[in-house]
Structure formats: structure tokens, C-alpha cells
């Protein structure tokens, strides 16, 4: 299926070429593999929740047995465990994650739908920022390997990896929000996202990813610059700029594609922190409130959502990698 191109033009990802390389069988296989993953996650979450001591109402005032029986019946808690599991699974597949225990008049799906636009916007902006800045810094460091520029980029990257978001968040908010007043220190009205309000959260979320992306990009760029096809391009007398941007950079960016999966996980984890630090009404905020209030269905729903996102982006990354790298073969 995969074939090496032997002509001397940089491999272009023309649309027909990409489609002809689309590994349908492999993609289907990976998609099938993600089903047991999701099933395992939902199953684990469900039984963990049911293993919890007490019921969600045990903290509130004593209810009469009849009322409690009614509540249990309305939530389906009187059925056998395996049947409850089947119901939950069936509903979850259809996007119904059950009612929230604390927010009486809203379902978990509605709460998630409220928070998702905020979280997704900030996550997507942070991902873009991380790829642009991290990729650029990595290229610069690789081109000037072992120079002052390289060391300062790598030092910054080390700092970015070592300083957690729950440290950078409060400090950025204090300096640029409270002291200098350049950006909003926190808080965000739904539907009123602007550069002013989301800049600091996006920056905080992106910093560790910028660090990781720049390290990945530097390492792979150094390798690519030493490879035969770059030497060939030089021998042909191409300009350095053309070698860099048409030949080397696209090849070096390949490892970034497989980093999409882990990056998603990192961004989700980070989003929980920054939504708390900056007081944003995103999914992560609901998740933590749910965890503190022991709102099991909400916590479970968000875990399933996050798992779904991570599985999906891992899948996309794997397939995209296969399409972009002709050396990958599917056997």
C-alpha cells in the first residue's frame, strides 16, 4: 500500500494521493479497537460508582422509606445491577448520561453541553498556540544546535515542563490581570469570549505544551537535517529556505502528529486547573464540583467524555500518521 516516491520533488499531499493512501482496513481495525477501550472505561466507571458506600442522598435529611423507594425507582436503582448497567450503556451510547444528582433540573448531558463550548474554544486555541510557537522554537533551536539560542529555548522548555499550570496560572493572573490589568484576571460570561478574557487561560494551558512541542520538534529536526534527502536537496543547489520549509520542516513535523493524542490528554488535565484558577464555566469546573459534591453521574459523564475525546484524538493521530508517512506499512 505504501510506496516510496523516488522523484526529487518534495512529497505533496495532493488530495487524490492522500485518499489513495487512506488505509481503510487499518482505520477500521483501529476504530474497532477503540470500542473495547470505551467499553472498558464505561464499565469501570459504572461499577466503581456503584461500589461507592452509601447512596447519593445519604447526606441529606432522612427521607421516609416510601419517598426513598420512589426516588430509587425513578432513577432505576431498584433494578438488578446488571440491568442498570445495560440501561446506562444503552443511554450513554445515545448521549444520555442520566440526571445530575445535585443540579436537580438538569441532566448531565445538558451540563456538559453548557460547558463544552468554553472548554473546546480554550483547548483549541491552546493547541494552535502550542503548535505554532513550539514548532517555531524547536526549528530555531535545531538550526542553531548547541548555541546560546538553543540553550535558552531548551532551558525555557525545561521550565515549561517543570512548572505546573496551577503555579503559572495564579502568577500570570496576578501579574498581567491584577497588577498590570492588561487582561482579565478571571471570570468569563458565557457567549462573551474575547481576546481580553481568554488570553491568560489559553497561554497558561499552552505553556507546557509549547515546551513539549519545541523539544519534540528540535529532536526530530536535528535528525532530519542530517538525513540523506536534505543532503540531496543541498546538492541540487536549492536555497536553504526552500530546503527548510519544503523538505525538512514537513518531515520533521511528523512526530508532532503522533503527539496529538497525549497532547489532548494534557490539555484536558490542564483545562480542569485553568477553569478553576480563572473561574471559567467549562466542563472541568463541573467535573471538580461534581467530584467534591459526590455527584456520581456527573463525574462519570465527564470521565466518559474525556476518555472519548482522548480515544478519538489518538485514533485520528494514528491514522493521520499513516497517511502522512509513506514508510508506515499496515500488515
Amino acid at each position: 500500500m505504501a510506496q516510496r516516491n523516488l522523484d526529487d520533488k518534495p512529497r505533496k499531499s495532493s488530495l487524490p494521493g492522500v485518499i489513495s493512501r487512506f488505509p481503510a482496513a487499518y482505520a477500521a481495525g483501529r476504530l474497532l479497537l477503540s470500542i473495547p477501550t470505551m467499553l472498558a472505561i464505561i464499565t469501570l466507571a459504572f461499577f466503581l460508582m456503584r461500589a461507592a458506600p452509601g447512596n447519593p442522598y445519604s447526606m441529606e435529611r432522612k427521607l421516609s422509606p416510601e419517598v426513598e423507594a420512589n426516588i430509587r425507582a425513578s432513577l432505576g436503582l431498584d433494578k438488578p445491577l446488571i440491568e442498570q448497567y445495560g440501561d446506562y450503556l444503552l443511554n450513554a451510547v445515545q448521549g444520555d448520561l442520566g440526571p445530575s444528582m445535585r443540579n436537580k433540573d438538569k441532566s448531565v448531558s445538558e451540563l456538559i453541553a453548557e460547558g463544552l463550548p468554553v472548554s473546546l474554544t480554550i483547548g483549541a486555541c491552546a493547541m494552535g498556540l502550542a503548535l505554532a510557537i513550539g514548532g517555531g522554537l524547536g526549528v530555531v533551536a535545531a538550526l542553531r544546535q548547541n548555541s546560546a539560542a538553543d540553550y535558552s529555548v531548551m532551558g525555557l522548555a525545561m521550565a515549561g515542563i517543570s512548572i505546573p499550570t496551577f503555579v503559572t496560572g495564579p502568577i500570570l493572573s496576578l501579574v498581567f490581570g491584577v497588577w498590570l490589568g492588561w487582561f482579565a484576571a478571571g471570570g468569563l460570561d458565557l457567549g462573551r469570549m474575547s481576546f481580553y478574557t481568554i488570553f491568560l487561560p489559553v497561554l497558561t494551558l499552552a505553556l507546557p505544551q509549547i515546551a513539549i512541542v519545541s523539544r519534540l520538534m528540535r529532536a526530530s529536526m536535528i535528525e532530519v537535517l542530517r538525513s540523506n534527502f536534505v543532503r540531496t536537496a543541498r546538492a541540487k543547489g536549492l536555497s536553504e529556505a526552500r530546503i527548510l520549509w519544503r523538505h525538512a520542516a514537513p518531515a520533521a513535523a511528523l512526530p508532532l502528529v503522533s503527539y496529538i493524542g497525549p497532547a489532548t490528554a494534557g490539555l484536558l488535565t490542564g483545562s480542569v486547573v485553568i477553569e478553576r484558577v480563572f473561574g471559567l464555566p467549562g466542563v472541568g469546573q463541573y467535573f471538580i464540583d461534581g467530584a467534591i459534591n459526590r455527584d456520581y453521574p456527573l463525574v462519570m459523564g465527564v470521565v466518559i467524555l474525556y476518555a472519548g475525546l482522548i480515544v478519538a484524538f489518538n485514533l485520528i493521530a494514528d491514522i493521520a500518521y499513516g497517511i502522512l508517512d509513506p514508510k508506515v506499512s499496515y500488515e
Binding site: L48, A51, S162, P164, V167, I171, G261, V272, I288, I292
Partner: protein, 300 residues
């Protein structure tokens, strides 16, 4: 006769030189010692460990002692509150030491848990190979896609906040990369002559794995352990920061940072734990990177 004698002496000298030759580990140590960042980090980390372990024992204040008349005072030498006191009137310096102690303890214990599971799993899969390997690594792939930290949160929601549970839970979700690294190494070790010799002389598989394979995994495992430590410490602090980890009056770096964030006007409450955390993590990362470059110098 005349010709062979000096020749003999020469070969003896050569064999002595070989005996005193530098092993791979000597080379690695020499490379590590040349890495200034790593050496500085070792000293810094050593200092932090000593402060965390012995500091609270010799400090004049107790970590849960509340001084009602000295709430949130800024750093001063009066009464020896060199980092000030927190919002409840507790000495911040001693709380910082205890927090560092808890964070480091979580790091070490959870890393050990992940080390044991990861090495056992990876070495078994790699050594047995074939179908067993396929199934075991497929399981790792499936778990790999799970959002670990959220499962730890789910666990704390279900079973309540218990510090030992946090140790175990973090360790139990961080072993996957270790298992992959160990399996890869085992696959190559398995083909080597000394393993073949052991197998030929009838050594049982369990003993081959424990006596011949695992000791040879030491290099990459040591590197990955130092890189797991900061990840685990971060995970615990993340939980504590969100209020889902260590409980009061016990504390950890994440919890202290969270308290500092809530009272931004008292800047020292945020800066002291934040700087401690960052320097510990930086030191661990520099040591890990240094070890990796020293043991596997291909990248440099």
C-alpha cells in the same frame, strides 16, 4: 625464547589494562559528572530531601500549631516565622517542609508501585513473547488511552480521600510507559547469547527473567524512574490543588499552592510553595535528562 618473553609480558600488561578498564557505568558516571545542570540538581535535591526529612523535627514550630494572635503575618525573624504564617496562624516554613515531605513520599512510593508493576508486566510480556506478549501489550494499549488522572479522581470520589489510596492509585496508573520500555528492552535481551546459554543449561524461565533479564534493564529503568518521579509528584499536587488529595491539617505542596492562590494579597503564601515545587521538579527533570544522556548518549 627470547622473542616470546617480552611478548608474554606485553599480553599480561594488556590483560591488566582490560581488568582496570572503564565499564559502561564508569563512562556513564563520567558523562553525568560533566553535566553541570545535573550535578547542581543532585545537590539541590539532596538538600531538599534533608530539609523535608529532618526540618520538621528540629523546627521550633509544629505544623498544626495555630497561633491565634499571629494570623497571616509576613515573613519576619520575630518568633522565628521566617516565611510568615498562613491564614489560620500556622508557621508557613514548617508547613512547607511537611508539604515537601508528603509530596516527596508520594513520589517515591507511587513510583515504586509503578516500577514493580511495570517491570514485572513488561519483562514477562517481552520474555514470553508471542501470543501472551500480544495480549499483554494490547491491554496496555487499551489502558493507555484512558484519562488516568480522572480515574484517580473517580477513585477518590468513590472511596473518600485517603492518602494511601492516592499513593496506590497514582502508582497504579503510571506503570504503562515503564512496561513498554521494559518490554522493548527485554525483547532484544532475550536474543542475546547469555540468555540463550542460561536457557540451554536448563535455568527455569522465572529465574532467567529475575536473574538475567531484570538486572540488565537497570539503565533505561533508572532513567525512567527519575522521569516518573516528577510526573507523580505533579499528579498528587494536581489532586491536592483541586481539593481532592491530602486533607488538612496534613499538607502537600499542591495544597499549599492552592491556599496561596486563594489569598493573593499575601504573596508569600503562594510564592514559597510554588518556588519549592518548581525547584524540586526542575531538579528531578534535569537529573533524569542528565541520566538519559549519560546512559544512552546517542542523542548528543
Amino acid at each position: 625464547m627470547n622473542v616470546t618473553a617480552p611478548d608474554l609480558g606485553g599480553s599480561r600488561a594488556m590483560s591488566r589494562a582490560a581488568e582496570e578498564g572503564r565499564s559502561l557505568w564508569d563512562d556513564a558516571r563520567a558523562r553525568l559528572m560533566r553535566n553541570k545542570a545535573a550535578v547542581t540538581s543532585v545537590w539541590l535535591l539532596g538538600g531538599l530531601v534533608i530539609i523535608a526529612v529532618f526540618g520538621p523535627m528540629v523546627w521550633p514550630h509544629n505544623y498544626d500549631a495555630i497561633y491565634r494572635d499571629r494570623v497571616a503575618i509576613s515573613p519576619t525573624f520575630e518568633n522565628f516565622h521566617i516565611l510568615g504564617t498562613d491564614m489560620l496562624g500556622r508557621d508557613l516554613a514548617v508547613r512547607l517542609m511537611v508539604g515537601l515531605r508528603v509530596s516527596l513520599a508520594v513520589g517515591v512510593i507511587a513510583t515504586c508501585v509503578s516500577l514493580v508493576i511495570g517491570v514485572a508486566w513488561g519483562a514477562t510480556a517481552g520474555y514470553l513473547g508471542g501470543r501472551v506478549d500480544q495480549i499483554m501489550m494490547r491491554i496496555v494499549d487499551v489502558i493507555y488511552a484512558m484519562p488516568f488522572i480522572f480515574f484517580v479522581i473517580l477513585l477518590t470520589v468513590v472511596f473518600g480521600q485517603n492518602i494511601f489510596l492516592i499513593f496506590l492509585a497514582i502508582g497504579a496508573v503510571e506503570w504503562l510507559t515503564m512496561a513498554r520500555i521494559v518490554r522493548g528492552q527485554t525483547l532484544t535481551l532475550r536474543q542475546r547469547e547469555f540468555v540463550e546459554a542460561a536457557r540451554a543449561s536448563g535455568v527455569p524461565p522465572v529465574k532467567i527473567v529475575t536473574r538475567h533479564i531484570v538486572p540488565n534493564l537497570l539503565g533505561p529503568v533508572a532513567v525512567y524512574v527519575t522521569l516518573t518521579l516528577p510526573v507523580v509528584i505533579l499528579a498528587e499536587s494536581f489532586l491536592s490543588f483541586l481539593g481532592l488529595g491530602v486533607n488538612e491539617p496534613l499538607t502537600s505542596l499542591g495544597l499549599l499552592i492552592s491556599e496561596g492562590r486563594e489569598n493573593m494579597s499575601k504573596l508569600w503564601l503562594l510564592l514559597a510553595p510554588a518556588l519549592t515545587m518548581v525547584s524540586a521538579l526542575l531538579a528531578l527533570n534535569f537529573i533524569g535528562d542528565g541520566l538519559r544522556d549519560a546512559i544512552d548518549p546517542r542523542d548528543r
